[in-house]
């Protein structure tokens, strides 16, 4: 591991509770994600994959260990600095889209910029919405969009501030397979064309097969870290691990 990566964690442990009832959601996890690559994190329920993502994104703090994001040591930041870091360098995509129902698609996409009080780069915005393919839906409210369209708006929102890394939490969990495919293609495109770094937590073998790299967690430890597999390979791997 000579490349420190755009996001890296060293010896992360996250413990819930104290004394005899203490549970380690993560124990001694070290991992680094390379710039402009698409990584998938998998693992059974309770394996610690969501906890890992929350800590990497600065949403939760580890019991011990360090996280470095785009060269910044997260442990040294207070809440306000963490907030500013998220604002400028992190994008999020959620399972349940999480668009504000009161804003239309365009306003939802621009929300991170308006929170920051930053101005819109018109050329980048045009390029982005063409890539996402929702130009004709810009003035629709979320309720008027399909699930796939909503998630594509959410992807655009994650990309609009050109963050150092985009974290996607089960981005296809609420979508049918066609819509899932579109969203995953879009993430792939973000990595390939825009040089975006994407870290995705998923249950879905099909989704994982779109990534460059597959990290698998089990019982709070990394049990596999390597090249991505096709969907069949992922399924076989998961079966072998659960045995």
């Amino acid at each position: 591991m000579s490349d420190p990566g755009i996001v890296s964690a060293r010896e992360l442990t996250r413990r819930y509770g104290e004394g005899e009832v203490a549970v380690d959601a993560l124990s001694d996890v070290s991992v680094a994600f390379t710039k402009a690559r698409f990584a998938a994190i998998m693992g059974p329920s309770g394996s610690g994959k969501s906890t890992l993502m929350h800590i990497l994104a600065g949403l939760d703090r580890p019991t011990s260990g360090t996280v470095t994001l785009d060269g910044v040591e997260l442990a040294s930041l207070d809440d306000r600095a963490l907030t500013l870091l998220r604002r400028e360098r992190v994008g999020f995509i959620f399972q349940t889209f999480n668009l504000l129902p009161i804003l239309d698609a365009r306003e939802n996409i621009l929300l991170p910029l308006s929170i920051a009080g930053a101005s819109v780069d018109g050329a980048w915005f045009d390029e982005l919405i063409d890539a996402v393919g929702i130009r004709d839906r810009l003035h629709h409210r979320p309720a008027q969009l399909s699930g796939g369209q909503q998630q594509r708006v959410a992807v655009a929102r994650a990309l609009v501030s050109r963050p150092a890394v985009v974290f996607a939490d089960e981005p296809t969990g609420n979508l049918d397979s066609a819509a899932s495919g579109e969203v995953l293609d879009l993430l792939r495109l973000a990595v390939d064309r825009f040089g975006q770094t994407v870290v995705m937590v998923t249950h879905d073998a099909q989704a994982a097969s779109h990534a460059d790299r597959l990290v698998v967690l089990g019982d709070g430890r990394i049990v596999r870290d390597g090249e991505a597999l096709d969907a069949g390979g992922v399924l076989d791997l998961m079966k072998s691990l659960s045995r």
Binding site: S50, H54, L59, D60, D79, R80, T83, L84, R86, R87, E88, V90, F92, F94, T96, N98, L100, P101, I102, L103, E107, L111, P112, S114, I115, A116, G117, R157, D169
Partner: protein, 858 residues
Amino acid sequence: MTAVVVRGFFSRKLRAVLTGIAVALGVALMSGTYILTDTIDHSFAAIFATGEQNRAVVITPHQGLGAGAAVQTAAIGQATLERVRRVPGVAVAAGEVFAVATLFDAQGRRLNTSAPSFAVSVLPARFEDLSAVAGSLPTNAGSVAIDQASAQRASLRVGQRLRVAGATAAATYRISGILRFAGSASFGGAGVALVTLPQAQLLAGEPNSYDDLVVGAKSGVSPATLRKRIRAVLPLTLDVRTGVQQAAQQTSDLESQLGFLRTFLLIFAYVALFVGAFIIFNTFSITVAQRTREFGLLRTLGATRGQVVRSVVAEGAMLGFGGALVGLLAGLGLAPALDQLFKAFGADLPDSGTVVEFRTIWVSLLAGTGVTVLAGLLPALRAARVTPIAAMREGVPLERAQRSPRGRRIILAVVAFYVVVRVALLASSGAGIATIVILLALILAIRVPASRRRIGGAFSATVVALAHLLARPLAWRGITGRLARDNTVRHPGRTAVTAASLMVGLALVSLISILAAGTKASINQAIDASFAGNLIIQNSSTAGNAGIPTEIPAALRAIPGVAQVTPVAFTEGSVNHLKGNQTITALDPASFARVYRIDWDRGSDATLAALGTTGTVLNRSFASAHHLKVGQTLTVAAASGRRIRLVVRGIATDNARLLADLTITLALARSAFAQRVDALDFVSYRPGVTNAQVQPKVNRILAARFPQAESQTATQFKNSLASQVDTLLALIYVLLALSVIVSLFGIVNTLVLSIFERTRELGMLRAIGTSRRQIRQMIRYESVITALIGGLLGIALGVVVALILAATALSGSGFVLVIPVVTVIVLFILAGLAGLAAAAWPARRAARVDILAAIATE
């Protein structure tokens, strides 16, 4: 971010409207109060300014006790007028009489029952500002001119008869003209009978005397110069002002009297705003909880805590400003309604036009916006504690801040302190204690959602226990009743705050009703204990401190069967420079003790007989409050500024408060305090004489010569006092009703919000076969349970505060604590009905929930 706030605000229109109303109602009462009092103020100011414009200098008796003092001032004698006429530069000087009077038509009916009337003398043409719109001003002893408003009310025309009774026997005049004042039909609501100067002096009982002198300057002499010259030759018991100064003085006197009315009404506006604050707090708390994921998302996307707080506060500010604006406009409509309300309760306040001062606008907007922002602050701070993770998954609870809420406590303490100080300043000490107790209870309530563990836990537990208790009768309704109860206790904090808003209003209503019942009982007990006579004579109108003529006792003593007639008068003075004025009772020492049993602490009836013009008897509560003892000498300043020294000769307990702070002889009151009319006459009969033999004769004499007076037996007197208490009580009820209405909007709001929250659950209930009817019932029961909790707590709180008051502030005053059981039960039932009414619309809304859509809601 601004877009989020603005859109969010408008996307929750219904909530905004319901919460806005809560603010608007309180603000409406506030702005209505200002508009009404400003309008009255300006109406009078216009009259005063017109009245004084032709007068270079005005001379009035000095009144050193403040505009609010109920005292007569000394009349100005003829010699003073002659002295003024000799001052160089005086062109004309004339005396004017302006005396409280009562007007009757030819059939003996009073023209004006709710406002005072005056007998006024005609001035020389140079000064006269009254003009006749019909007929002419009176020129001979037999004629009178009356104000247009009174004439219209009684359908009187020129040529008809008018009876006028002042400080002496009544006289009858022929109407020669109808008057207008500075463009208005009445003298600010009061009736005016304009007669010739000698007639006015006769009616006022002041031959060769005047209430004020008006002076016209020779050309080339300025009012200021003339004032200086006249000032130099007159004693300090007279005030000398230029016409302009006089108008300003009259206006400022009026303002200080209106200040009482304004404060009285503003207290109710504050109460309504306070109740509104609860509703705002509750609404914001609920919506913040419902928007957890939204705040989490904003935080994830990089919004700082500050930005989240500001977005909620901005929403509160918009809401408050909108509500306040609506309230301000509603105040325009409310001001005349308040005026009508006072008319209905017997106080005719004059107003012409509508005066909206800039102060009314900014105070209303600031109060409405400020209350909303403050009440929304705690929920806003809670919104900031939402962690970004809350956006990730459903059901992540709000982080309970460990580094506990010092900031919140400080804010709460500051707000509470401000309110306490503010209200305590407004109200008297007794009411102040009540306010503090109510506030403590409220702080307890408001802390519920904040910390369930400590005191709040106890309050929540009380709410839960009450809900179970009150829902017991619903058991037979089966599952609907069960669900209603469980929904009530699902968020005990929310139910507690909703109930608390109703509790405030009901606590005040029950407290006031207990105090009123107690006051009536105390009056009855005190009169029964002290009054040993048979009849009480007093003016039939309480408006304008109208007294009764001093000739009445002599006239009544001539009636066979009458043993004693003893007059009593009231005045005020300033004792030993104590704060404010002290009330003084003046009585006839020879006869008083025969019709009134005095409960002596020190002294005896003999003390009274020997009082003379140098002694005084103190009321025990006054004596003990200021540590005054028998034998001490007091310095008492009369309104004229004259000081007399009185030795304390005795101390008496008098729960009827007929014996005021000080008691002196009538002779002293007449000589040193310029007291020329009496307040009451007590009449006692000879043994063996029945009321039927005497009272009709008394009434005949009164009707023939003193129509302004009426006789009452002790029972009639008690009833008339009770009805005065009831009138005030009804007025306060009406004003408090506004707060109760505000809290009903709170119940509606809470119901609507929790129904919204439970859309899925309601859909599920409908899906498994609950009928719309059952859903409606469930919501109604929920509302009724909440309302009854508020009612029960409010009534309990009112009773507790009354008990505390009776044991502290009112102890030793002879206050009889009476719990008006029927009123209390009615209040409780009304609270339940109010809950039912509040549920009507939310229940329909809940029943309309579309099953499929509800279940599909993500």
